[in-house]
Symmetry: C2
Subunit: 179 residues, 2 copies
DNA sequence: TGCCATGCGAACATCCGTGTACCGTTGTGA
DNA sequence: TCACAACGGTACACGGATGTTCGCATGGCA
């Protein structure tokens, strides 16, 4: 049930970062006082949400074999499934002003960047910087999460959409060859 | 100079949507009173910024030949150049709660969606919904804008990066063929 | 039954952002 | 030189969000 609180708070604050704590508490079906008891201040709540998101990512990343050839696909598929709890981490404004959080995020990105760099020897384009490819992957995740929350995309379709679009692009293959 | 005010306000509010009007005024090198004189209320300022962004897009879209085969490339190239002023429009939280703005945004998307649907007969993949392709294009724009504002991407390189990535994907072509 | 923990609501003091009014300064043109 | 407009700064009133405290209700447990 504490999980439900984190989920609700995340989605409310994502939809409107200026939402009051009263709004968050009401949406979670919890008293404002109780919310204060668990998270003494607003920034504490935000930090907790971000930290929770990082924990989620860690719990997923540790199951990925970063040495395998399908590591990227595996990682992306698992990340898509996490949804808004993680979207919060990368979209919430001013989160990187907390140095500790920013450091954890950088530490989280590094193995993925290394993986991308390694795969640029085989299946990934070498004419693009690794950080650009990483950001493109994230952008695909955002896309999927947004479409899911809008009800336009079925969660089970999401990984295929993201991977296919990011890796192969939106061009029809026959036309792309001629470009 | 009014343009400078709009630009500054846009970037400040994009970086932190909860920034106070005092912050905005200070960043723009203008008195808070003067800001109030020009925009009586906070929502008036936000609406003005969004409206300005829409005007910018209109001023760009009217130069694009939507019947040409390179319409998408042309449009994207021009949009990349607009930068944060337009990013604001699509990223600022809760902007779609204003029905008039939301309507203008939908009206802005429609010709592009039609264009995509038409191009799915020739150069674009037919196994993806048009709205997904549209969102993918937007995601590419976000990516470029963010990278530019971080100083990692040269503005002149941006259009090529975006178009190449979105259309062809990040896979090395030789590997992609086998997939 | 009595005890304790947990959660909720009400009330309160406080702070911060907002909107407004007033005044001083500057610069421009008659 | 004077009048006037534009701008910035100060001061104040107001409202909403925030953080804290207290009291009450509920529910498990001895």
């Amino acid at each position: 049930m504490s999980v439900h609180l984190l989920q609700t708070a995340t989605s409310v604050l994502l939809k409107d970062p200026t939402a009051s704590l009263g709004d968050v508490a009401r949406a979670a079906g919890v008293g404002r006082t109780t919310l204060h008891k668990r998270f003494p201040t607003r920034t504490a709540l935000v930090r907790a949400l971000a930290s929770d998101a990082l924990d989620l990512i860690d719990s997923v990343a540790c199951h990925v074999d970063f040495d395998g050839d399908d590591a990227l696909e595996d990682l992306m598929t698992r990340l898509v499934a996490l949804g808004p709890r993680v979207e919060f981490l990368l979209r919430f404004p001013g989160l990187d002003r907390d140095e500790e959080l920013a450091a954890r995020i950088r530490a989280m990105d590094r193995p993925v960047l290394d993986l991308i760099t390694r795969l640029q020897g085989t299946k990934l384009r070498r004419d693009l910087p690794a950080w650009w490819i990483l950001n493109t992957l994230y952008a695909g995740l955002f896309n999927a999460w947004e479409a899911i929350s809008d009800g336009r995309l079925a969660p089970l379709d999401a990984p295929r959409f993201v991977l296919s679009t990011v890796f192969e692009g939106v061009s029809d293959v026959r036309a792309a060859d001629r470009t």
